[in-house]
């Protein structure tokens, strides 16, 4: 057995890794995350900015790091747009331009009508020169980004009005996978110009070298996909809510319906199945965080909880929802507690099983090593 393991064909290991990642990708387990202080600091910083602040996002990564950094880009964009800030996108990587398009797609799809190009956000494209580019725009943005990606002068856009250099922005977000990236932003923007406030999102590999910069040079940081998942959890906690009246009504009704034959958990499970929703959204129900529901869901809830649908609509209206003149809310509309908006959280399942497999392989490898060593000593 020991010999077979010693000479184990590495294709078996490859197969095990494939299964460890593929199975959770298909099953999509929901693993809850709590924001750690380093991630919460980023969230709180964005929350504290007054509405209409100007934030520059530097997306310094390419498709190789997109699975890890893409969710950060999307989560930052959503959060900043929810807060009504002006967004300026740049990249210091030639292959980073399409990453800006990912953010623009979020603004166009989820904030359609509320966010328009030029008024609320700008794509400034690629800036050549690595750290020299950062040094240059720290004192004069127009020297490198005189025009946007469409070739028009920045002065013609409201989104960049009054922004002459990085020092005029309210926050700089560096999402970086290497060089140039967060380290260069700290060294050439944040440190020489203390008025430039920096937060970052980095890959797991490049996170350890950035830790010494927290919390002085970097206000906060999203380290790796776990950092992105924690940020999504923080976003869901605040922007997965609508009010108190509806949750109070539903929770009270659930308590009323609990009997010796049917526990609260069973009732919740029945409701989850009837609504065909995920555990995260159901958690929102239980903790009193419910968004404006589509009428179809209201009807289903009314049936399961044996309650008048109008009572639910009245409670939702009290929470700020508007069902007047036949208005309805699309399913999953802007409820950031939903799994479909939580790409990073969904990736924590494959990450967990891959980590566990790695640990098992290390243990197994060392077991064989010590067994072989004992055999050699006996000889």
């Amino acid at each position: 057995m020991s010999e077979w393991l010693t000479n184990l064909d590495r294709r078996w290991i490859f197969l095990a890794m494939f299964l460890a990642v593929a199975i959770p990708v298909l099953i999509q387990p929901e693993l809850p995350e709590q924001p750690t202080p380093i991630v919460q600091a980023v969230f709180d910083k964005i929350e504290s900015l007054p509405e209409g602040s100007t934030v520059l996002l530097s997306l310094d990564y390419d498709p190789a790091s997109e699975p890890e950094l893409g969710p950060m880009n999307v989560a930052f964009t959503r959060h900043l747009a929810l807060r009504g800030h002006n967004l300026l996108y740049i990249t210091l990587w030639p292959t980073g331009v399409p990453m800006i398009d990912d953010a623009v797609r979020v603004l166009e799809n989820e904030f359609h009508g509320r966010y328009t190009y030029g008024e609320n956000y700008l794509n400034l494209g690629y800036g050549a020169g690595q750290e020299a580019a950062i040094k240059l725009i720290a004192t004069d943005l127009a020297k490198l980004f005189g025009v946007d990606s469409r070739g028009r002068p920045l002065g013609s856009y409201n989104a960049a009005r009054g922004i002459r250099s990085l020092q005029d922005t309210d926050l700089v977000i560096s999402i970086g996978a290497g060089y140039p990236g967060t380290k260069e932003w700290v060294q050439y923007a944040g440190t020489p110009f203390p008025e430039i406030e920096l937060v970052a999102g980095v890959t797991g590999v490049s996170a350890p070298p950035q830790y010494p910069y927290y919390p002085q040079q970097l206000i906060g940081m999203l380290p790796a996909i776990k950092g992105a998942a924690e940020y999504e959890a923080a976003l869901a906690l605040v922007y997965g809510t609508a009010g108190e009246a509806l949750p109070e009504l539903l929770n009270a009704r659930i308590q009323e319906m609990v009997t010796d034959e049917r526990s609260e958990d069973e009732l919740i499970e029945e409701l989850t199945d009837a609504l065909d929703i995920g555990a995260t959204q159901m958690q929102s129900f239980r903790t009193g965080r419910i968004n404006c529901l589509p009428l179809e869901q209201i009807t289903t809830i009314a049936e399961v909880l044996e309650i008048d649908p109008m009572a639910i609509i009245e409670a939702a209206t009290e929470d700020g929802c508007d069902y007047a003149d036949g208005r309805d809310y699309p399913d999953h509309y802007l409820n950031y507690g939903l799994t479909e908006f939580q790409t990073a959280l969904r990736r924590m399942g494959p990450q967990l099983s891959a980590h566990l497999l790695m640990l098992a392989l290390i243990v197994l490898g060392n077991l064989i090593f010590f067994l072989d060593r004992r055999k050699e000593r006996r000889r």
Partner: protein, 232 residues
């Protein structure tokens, strides 16, 4: 002259940047020099392109080992350059429907966008994803507790791998309220925030001192390796 002139340029540029850093009156000179750097970087990109072309063309013409790969490189280079520079397939901007070249060079639907979306994107993502398989194989074959240092490394890897996933919360979450720093995520944070930060700072300070010493050697003309091996 061939050696002295570049030496003088490098030394003068270096001294100007150092002096300008400490003298606010010379701030404009410093900013101008930074702009020159960007222009030079753009020119260097052209030189780099020419160098790639020359190197691979020579390899193909000499039929050296692996010349087929050079043909692929050359084709990729030339086609990308052509479709990018001439905005092949790029739709014009809605405001100027009659002007073919008004669209962004990487606008959706263009040939460059297509090559990025369907060639570069999957290739680079695949290359990176393959790492997971090789790291797993390496973990099985090479990560051995042979001595004390290796055991420390192994122990840290265990804590981080568990602490940075849901396993950490699952295994130690039950006493998180009483002893948050002793949970796996808590220990991971401590390793990253204390041991890692201390080590990284030491490395950073060492590198910074090394850069300062090397820069001084270049400014004084002692280190000439940047001029090429024959001038070192």
């Amino acid at each position: 002259m061939k050696r002295t002139f570049p030496l003088i340029i490098a030394a003068v540029a270096g001294y100007v940047m150092v002096v300008a850093y400490f003298m606010p009156a010379l701030q404009q000179v410093r900013e101008d020099a930074e702009e020159w750097f960007n222009i030079l970087a753009a020119i260097a990109m052209i030189l780099g392109g020419a160098s790639i072309l020359g190197m691979h063309l020579r390899k193909v013409s000499d039929r050296r080992a692996g010349w087929g790969f050079s043909v692929v490189t050359l084709l990729g280079f030339i086609v990308t350059l052509y479709v990018g520079l001439f905005k092949i397939g790029v739709p014009p901007m809605p405001e100027y429907p009659d002007r073919a070249w008004t669209g962004e060079y990487i606008a959706q639907g263009g040939a460059l966008w297509w090559s990025f979306e369907y060639i570069i994107y999957p290739i680079t993502a695949t290359m990176f994803a393959l790492l997971a398989f090789y790291v797993a194989s390496a973990a099985f074959r090479a990560f051995r507790a042979k001595n004390l240092e290796a055991m420390l490394l192994l122990g840290t890897a265990f804590l981080i791998l568990l602490g940075r996933s849901y396993a950490g919360t699952l295994l130690t979450g039950w006493y998180a309220e009483d002893y948050p720093n002793l949970t796996l995520p808590g220990l991971t944070d401590m390793i990253m925030g204390v041991f890692n930060t201390a080590g990284q700072r030491a490395v950073m300070i060492g590198i910074a001192l090394g850069i300062a010493a090397t820069s001084l050697k270049i400014l004084l003309g002692i280190d000439r390796s940047y001029l090429g091996s024959r001038n070192a």
